[in-house]
Symmetry: C3
Subunit: 274 residues, 3 copies
């Protein structure tokens, strides 16, 4: 576990095309660089096909979508499918508005995704068209804990089978599944929810690892999510040691990604397969 994903990324640093929101886009760019990739943000309808053509992966995040960028997402997604590069989706806040639901419906119809990553409220909205009143955060009744882990694993497997892609649910316990094999990751720290962008950055890191690991998206996604979780733990330790707060935490989280290596991953990982 982990060796190959890391090694492939180091050997082939990917160009990571983002069509993403303007809230956390800077954090996304910096975490891609920290992880070893090269970020490229471009969302104009006239341009996205050219950018996909030189990129190794496409990451679509609907955080601050608008009518203009929805069309760009679909066009870019189709082109990426044609070219055979992975496409990662973060359906931020789906279920919270008609526009997001419609955008996601169109995206799912037109694009085959390699990995869909979100919190459990987003994934329920995606799968069952349930309303999502948590906005971009998970609703309390959807949080993953030990007592509801088994039913959640079954749910995630079902979603993965339906959409024929890796499903990655992030939360207190992360669940990643390809419909057959399922992994849960117990890394991370509650402070990750106290800054904006943790989820988006996780998507960017998944995209970065998938780009260089086309043979094994499941392992790529697990590596990315475990790495993010360990970064959160290391950042939290540093903040505590220095009596600092949430913004320092953000800095140390990205710092930790830029200093991540195989040893830290292997020693820090708290993962289990089911």
């Amino acid at each position: 576990m982990f060796e190959k994903s890391l090694e492939n990324l180091k050997k082939n640093p990917p160009l990571v095309h983002h069509i993403t929101n303007y809230v956390t886009v800077n954090d996304c760019a910096n975490i891609v660089l920290a992880a070893g990739g090269s970020p490229l943000m471009a969302d104009d309808y006239e341009e996205v096909e050219d950018i996909v053509a030189i990129s190794s992966v496409l990451y679509i995040n609907i955080g601050t979508l608008n009518k203009r960028t929805i069309e760009s997402m679909i066009k870019a997604g189709k082109k990426a499918n044609e070219k055979g590069i992975p496409v990662i989706l973060d359906p931020v806040g789906v279920g919270a508005s008609q526009l997001r639901n419609e955008a996601i419906r169109k995206l799912m119809e037109n694009v085959q995704f390699s990995v869909i990553k979100g919190n459990m409220s987003e994934m329920k909205a995606l799968y069952t068209h349930a309303k999502n009143t948590g906005g971009v955060d998970v609703q309390e009744e959807h949080m993953i804990h030990d007592h509801n882990l088994d039913e959640n694993i079954e749910f995630v497997k079902g979603v993965a089978r339906k959409f024929k892609c890796i499903i990655a649910i992030t939360g207190v316990i992360d669940i990643i599944s390809d419909g057959e094999k399922t992994c849960f990751v117990r890394n991370g720290h509650a402070m990750m929810a106290k800054i904006t962008g943790t989820g988006c950055m996780t998507g960017s890191v998944i995209a970065t690892f998938c780009a260089s690991n086309k043979e094994n998206y499941l392992e790529a996604a697990i590596t990315a999510i475990t790495a993010m979780g360990i970064c959160g733990e290391l950042a939290h330790e540093k903040v505590m040691a220095r009596s600092e707060g949430s913004s320092s935490f953000r800095t140390y989280l990205i710092d930790a990604m830029s200093l991540m290596d195989l040893n830290k991953l292997k020693e820090g990982a708290k993962i289990e397969f089911k």
Copy 2:
């Protein structure tokens, strides 16, 4: 003072809908999280009513407005008024362009605001349609000092009465008034003007406190502005102790908000009513 505002915020962490600029939006999201709220940024015309429907407050900031988002602001503002949640306005750079003046005129015509926050140049432009050549910064002749405090208080009271809302002017001395009761706050540090986003973040924190304190917007605004000022002082102390610069200051400012509590507020506050 302060107890109730803090307690209500802790009991009812609000969803804070922002329609704001792309320059400081990440700082706004992080300071809302640091203060105890949950930020949500959405600006598409087709989506803003749905997002208002699940939010506890609407914050409108025209920092990088464009024709597309002006219409969204008006639509969202009307819906928020209908729903009875507070609407906060930051008329960034009003007076600096025809487009901003027109946008603000339309907003004031169509939306009843709960709090309008800006620097003195912006407020003069808003009230008297004066030209504003300072861009997003206050012009020197409009700065609030002890020697012009009394006349400024009268001006602010007049504006508050005219627009039937709380007016909050931030500067070396902050003035907050509902038209009857007026408070001035002497917290803060000059270094707050050396980073971008201090003003926008203050607006976000006001929105966060107002959302959970619908009975008393004046106290909510005073609490938010005092908290920001104290954070500025704490951040400055840390920067000086560590011989760091403006970007570290930004980090420590948000850190301080994430560590704010009733004691720090009560001990640090330099406020006076008139």
Copy 3:
């Protein structure tokens, strides 16, 4: 060298109008403030002329251009030419898409630039219409080293003469030329490529210095680029001393700009004229 540029900037802190990308715009705003200017971001077609009218310089960066903002860039550029203020161009990622090529072609046709700043891949694309597959990063075959320095100097001089403006190429060795006099700067650190925004921030600082130094754009650009390079070195030292990573580096880079002075510039500068 340096004294006059710094002194003029201190005497006349400029309003720096940016039409720039949403990825690094916050960093740009903060570095302008750190350098001693006042940033102002505005990109709506209806507004840009009014904003140019109150500004001291216009900085155009096509990082995340779209059809809406391309028209704004041209309109603002023309107005700035009319008014006689400097216009700085950062042709981010030109050569990577038809849209960027077209935008740059139109900009070059309609606007006289004072300084064009980019990496060598971008400048080759600009001059020879070569394809640029590096995205926003320099392609390896275009990197400037000692062994290809002479031919690169000749190339840059030619570009400067053709476009009748200062050309500034940033890289391991920076080359700045007005077509006659050429300077190369050996300041900086490899870690500057490990965060997003270094290039954009350099453009913002060039704009800030040019605004206050209309008599000598060449010296203004050299001062800005040397200052950025020294900030990169100081930030790297601090990161090493504290065992931190790339995000701390970004913080310390902006910190260093806010603490820059004539002594540090004079002592740290590694520049040579040819």
